[in-house]
């Protein structure tokens, strides 16, 4: 059935506060991750320290997943015509559950107090389940012909699998389940970063890169088959992980890495062909992101063949901080000022243009700080010096504080325009 045309209306779009609440709290989690590095540099000794697990989830759940969910409330109606039923109250509950859940999870993992893991699993599992059900209700009447709406569904399923595996891990850590931890952990990481986040990024990129950066389209076969193909390989890879089929698992990891590199290289290639010659901050952020993904994928493969603790750390830093944080930040700098502009235009009939609401120069400074923090993290993790790790932590705190301040400034400009 064809969706009701009213879904195209701005009236069907969520209130400004619906996505905004996610975008405001997210940078605070990033800053908290930096503060943890500053306070306890020994957490970078290996990927297995409780502190490393806590920092990873502050970034992956508190920042990345939170922004992604906030953005989905906004873009599902625009790119897929899907209206999330009761999006205001649903967003309030999902946001509270994700925020408190992420805090409990990070604290539970970092401090070793497993008592915090139980509420974390209930809140994160419940919050994500509520979102996925609401999103699928919105999407149920939408045809799956186009790449983006179809791939959004795959990403939602990927996140659901990742969170289910995460809950399983938390139960195992709390002694409630007896499971091969390493196996479940590998599956959790694969589904969270690739099945959920990676597919969501690709689904967004199919439309965002060509339309906003004015580039040619992605090759039709890539946009049509990448997410489904990657999902299928991820399933087979999961079977080899579960069956502990070492060499088959490595071969499939290499195939997955090649698929991710294919996406990143195509994105960079398209951006080189952009018709816009004016420097665009989101494009810069994407370039840092795609370069980091490619370097991170190499580290993932080396880590599988090496006993050295540093490779998984470098892979994690490159993929999470260099890859996902960069592209998410790049998109936030477009989404927030545009929503401020849109709501001002609707509410008071006129609005300052986007670059008056969000000037380029603070974004440029923020991206420079972000790149410096990334470089410092990579050097600090490689060298393992406590003071370098503290410096990297300080830069991470500073970059997320800067992001937070930039968001608050847009809101200040929004309020002034609304009042005046």
């Amino acid at each position: 059935m064809i969706p009701d045309g009213q879904t195209l209306s701005y009236d069907a779009a969520p209130a400004f506060s619906t996505p905004l609440r996610f975008f405001i709290t997210a940078p605070l989690f990033g800053a908290a991750a930096g503060a943890a590095l500053l306070a306890a540099p020994e957490l970078l000794d290996s990927r297995w320290t409780p502190g490393a697990l806590a920092v990873t989830h502050l970034v992956a759940v508190g920042f990345m997943l939170t922004v992604m969910l906030g953005a989905l409330f906004q873009i599902l109606p625009v790119v897929a015509g899907a209206v999330i039923p009761r999006s205001g109250p649903v967003a309030t509950v999902v946001h509270l559950a994700m925020t408190i859940g992420a805090l409990c999870l990070a604290w539970g993992l970092g401090s070793g107090s497993h008592a915090f893991l139980a509420p974390a699993t209930v809140l994160l599992g419940g919050g994500l389940a509520l979102f996925v059900v609401a999103a699928f209700l919105g999407l149920r009447r939408i045809p799956v012909a186009q790449a983006t709406p179809r791939d959004l569904r795959i990403a939602l399923l990927g996140f659901a699998v990742a969170v289910a595996l995460g809950i399983t891990l938390a139960l195992a850590l709390g002694g409630r389940l007896d499971l091969p931890l390493l196996t479940v952990l590998k599956l959790h990481i694969g589904w969270a970063l690739l099945g959920g986040s990676g597919v969501l990024l690709a689904a967004a990129s199919w439309v965002v890169v060509p339309m906003f950066q004015i580039t040619p389209n992605y090759p039709a076969a890539l946009a049509r088959f990448w997410a489904m193909g990657t999902g299928a390989v991820l399933l087979v890879w999961s079977a080899t992980v579960y069956g502990e089929l070492g060499s088959a698992e490595f071969a499939l990891s290499a195939v997955l890495a090649a698929l991710c590199a294919l996406f990143a290289v195509n994105t960079l290639k398209l951006q080189r062909q952009s018709r816009r010659s004016v420097p665009d901050m989101t494009t810069r952020a994407f370039e840092i992101g795609m370069g980091s993904f490619i370097a991170g994928l190499v580290c993932v493969l080396v880590a599988q063949q090496s006993e050295q603790q540093v490779w998984p750390l470098l892979a994690g830093i490159l993929i999470l901080h260099g890859g996902f944080v960069s592209v998410i930040v790049g998109m936030l700098y477009k989404i927030i000022p545009f929503l401020a502009w849109l709501h001002l235009t609707q509410d008071v009939g006129k609005a300052p243009n986007m670059k008056k609401l969000q000037p380029d120069s603070p974004i440029r400074r923020h991206l420079a700080l972000h790149a410096a923090a990334l470089a410092a993290l990579l050097v600090a993790a490689s060298v393992g010096n406590a003071w370098l790790i503290r410096l990297a932590g300080l830069l991470v705190v500073a970059e997320f504080a800067f992001l937070f301040a930039n968001i608050i400034k847009v809101l200040g400009n929004y309020r002034r325009a609304h009042a005046g």
Binding site: G5, V79, A145
Partner: protein, 147 residues
């Protein structure tokens, strides 16, 4: 991709290229080139709006009986884009690079989120309701006559 979706999506991309030419010329301070490029962009955009407002939307409304639905929303967004284009013209007349860059960025995002809705939702609806009619040919003729 079906006929109307494919034709109109291609035309969106065509308009984007003229938009980028004007933006580049302004950034380089080539005001005469910018003025010519913006005039071309405005004429392509207006031609696209006109093909929709005077042919595609009325046919869709007649076929579905939905006059208060998606076409009404799209007409409203066309009006907002026309105002944004006027502000770009003003910035160009004042040779104000910063103001032009801000207004152009605003129009670009406004235009692309509008295009996403049309390409992903409205045009496929048009294709399914208007298959077997000559609407696609009519649109093609109008868009080509404009160029």
């Amino acid at each position: 991709m079906s006929q109307i979706t494919s034709l109109m999506t291609d035309d969106h991309r065509h308009c984007d290229e003229s938009f980028a030419r004007a933006e580049t010329a302004v950034a380089k301070g080539k005001w005469d080139d910018a003025s010519a490029a913006l005039t071309q962009f405005a004429s392509e955009l207006e031609g696209h709006f006109d093909a929709e407002e005077s042919l595609l939307f009325p046919k869709f409304e007649a076929a579905t009986g939905m006059t208060e639905g998606p076409t009404k929303v799209m007409r409203g967004e066309h009006a907002e884009m026309r105002s944004a284009l006027t502000r770009m013209r003003d910035a160009l007349a004042n040779k104000d690079k910063d103001d032009y860059a801000g207004e152009a960025e605003t129009l670009l995002i406004l235009m692309q989120q509008h295009n996403m809705k049309e390409e992903n939702i409205l045009y496929p609806m048009c294709d399914s309701h208007l298959s077997g009619t000559d609407v696609a040919n009519g649109l093609s003729e109008r868009l080509h006559a404009r160029a």
